[in-house]
Amino acid sequence: MPDSKGVFMREKLGEMYRTMVRIRRFEETAQELFEKGGIIRGGIHVSAGQEACSVGVCSALNDDDAILTTHRGHGHSIAKGTRLPEMMAELFGKTAGLCHAKGGSMHIADVSKGHYGAHSIVGSNMPMAAGIGLAFQLNGRGQVAVPFFGDGASNQGAFHESMNLCAIWKLPVVFFCENNHFASSTRAEYSTSVEDISTRAQGYGAPGVTVDGMDVLAVHEAVAEAVKRARAGEGPSLIEAKTYRYYGHSRLDKKFGSYRDEEEWNEWKARDPLTVAGRLFGLSEAEAEGHRAAVEKELAEAVAFAEASPEPEPEMALEDIFA
């Protein structure tokens, strides 16, 4: 944060680093529990490798700004402040889960924290983000909405229609594309007409930038700029962060599918976002260890909470169908 200073800045950077560790360890824990079988209900899509995106974006937002995420939304959720124990309980299919065990990992939401949900139909969150942006414009409180989406989702009509709507109405929306180079097994260079997805913004008269998605400060700065623009009533921006997912696409996919090899994986891993952040922030090994230890405790508590929460009664399936 170039314009922040002193103690506040060190505290904020420390919190950002800790959040990245929290995401990484949440994902690793979820994956481990998933592989054990019978604990996590439904599939999961883990985002390890993409922590700089989640934290870079959410550190530039206020509590009352909104995010909408995707099937791969654990990181975004955590970065926006989603309650960890209730989130873990949702993965466990327990009553205390954020969605009362109906939505599972792919639909994590914590509206009290400005998190309007993970949305598992690819592209579906962007028109809704435009609508939340519209509500924010109407209520005049200067809030901003951010839809997260992947390179694959940028090929849905929903993306293009939403960009145009936000542009013509100057809605306060920051489109944040995590180009992790794959949509399931399909490489972005095959599926996408342009090398840099950010250039698609030109078609909608909006600014578009590509940033290093392994560098949390680069992400933060680009988002802070776009948020400023949105709050000033100047409309949407598109930010593309080039990043990489460490695990397979989903529960059915191995780490190294037929579509990528270990060499490529290692190249990205060499620029691990946590290592990069530690260096940028000038963290000592002792400080980093302090964050890791604190996170281990939080996670153990979250798992214990999830374990202790009761399973829902079958009839609860009929609750919350209508308001």
């Binding site: 139909i121 009509g157 399931s184 996408t192 599918g257 037929s258």
Partner: protein, 325 residues
């Protein structure tokens, strides 16, 4: 007859039809990747990636494109991965493909097959577990096949691909691993012909798709109590073989219609209405229905099981019909 899996039957039908007619091609997300699409990936090795074509995540775009290619003389077979994703492409599916021939005064035809894997029971949640055949069956101009075993999967898919009209071809994921005998050679199963899967005399269980094996299990359970249940499968719900279903239900005088989709406005509602119209007087008791409760399909397995139909629910409905005062 060799025993093969339902999933293998699909691949065989695709392979044979692609060999027979070079106009047939497959299109969808990740269709040539073995780990994602085991049913079609081997076809990519055989026929090349131009005929087993990977698409971006653009359901509206590639489904509309398939309608166009069909009008222009090709025979696309789309792999939608899940029926839930067809809803992103509902315009070409519901507004265009089924109406074009009619609206354009018979100048074009749309020989398109849309394969829609579907169904619940795998904790995939509300937007990845639906069974939507009843949505499609009410669109004039669209045919809907709902195979329940390997032989019908192969034979109906061949018919679907050869049909000059758009066809929704439903594949219940729960059926993929089930093995069954499949006749060798080029055997196409006609649309609009129900099949008796088990003969019986006391009650008729009409099962749709994934519920046929469940009806067979329920029939087995009922047999233990000395009840003889017939199981019949419409195989296509548009066209619907009312005559074939009525022959069975008329014979037993008692009938349960079972589907995995939601109860309200379901396939069973159409079948029950059609049957009462022709069987009024010969039915001994009201027609029973078993279907998903009118709730989205939740992730948590106990809640999911509560919403979805089951063998026990089918047997219970049969007992209600059998014990009706």
């Amino acid at each position: 007859m060799p025993n093969i899996k339902f999933s293998e039957a699909i691949t065989e039908a695709l392979r044979e039809e692609m060999e027979r007619d070079e106009k047939v091609f497959v299109m969808g997300e990740d269709v040539s990747t073995p780990s994602v699409s085991p049913l079609t990936a081997e076809l990519a090795d055989r026929f090349g990636k131009a005929r087993v074509r990977n698409t971006p995540i653009s359901e509206l775009g590639f489904t509309g494109a398939a309608v166009g290619a069909a009008m222009a003389g090709y025979r696309p077979v789309l792999d939608m991965r899940l029926v839930d994703f067809t809803l992103v492409a509902i315009d070409p599916i519901a507004n265009q493909a089924p109406k074009l021939r009619y609206m354009l005064g018979g100048q074009v035809s749309v020989p398109l097959v849309i394969r829609t894997p579907q169904g619940g029971g795998v904790q995939n949640g509300p937007t990845h577990s639906q069974s939507l055949e009843s949505w499609f069956m009410k669109i004039p101009g669209l045919k809907v096949a709902v195979p329940s075993d390997a032989a019908d999967a192969k034979g109906l898919l061949k018919t679907a691909i050869r049909d000059d009209n758009p066809v929704i071809f439903t594949e219940y994921r729960s059926l993929y691993p089930l093995e069954g005998p499949v006749p060798e050679g080029d055997v196409a199963v006609p649309f609009g012909k129900a099949a008796v899967k088990r003969e019986g005399s006391d009650i008729t269980l009409i099962g749709v798709g994934s519920q046929v094996p469940k009806c067979m299990e329920a029939a087995e359970a009922l047999a233990a109590d000395g009840i003889s249940a017939e199981v019949i499968d419409p195989r296509t719900i548009s066209p619907l073989d009312t005559e074939g279903l009525a022959a069975s239900a008329g014979k037993t005088g008692r009938c349960v219609v079972v589907e995995e989709g939601h109860l309200h406005g379901g396939v069973g509602a159409e079948i029950a209405a059609a049957l009462q119209a022709v069987l009024f007087g010969s039915l001994k008791v009201p027609i029973e229905r078993v279907a998903a409760l009118n709730a989205p399909i939740p992730v948590q397995p106990k809640m999911e099981a509560f919403v979805l139909p089951s063998t026990e629910k089918i047997a219970a409905a049969a007992r209600i019909a059998l014990n009706y005062a």
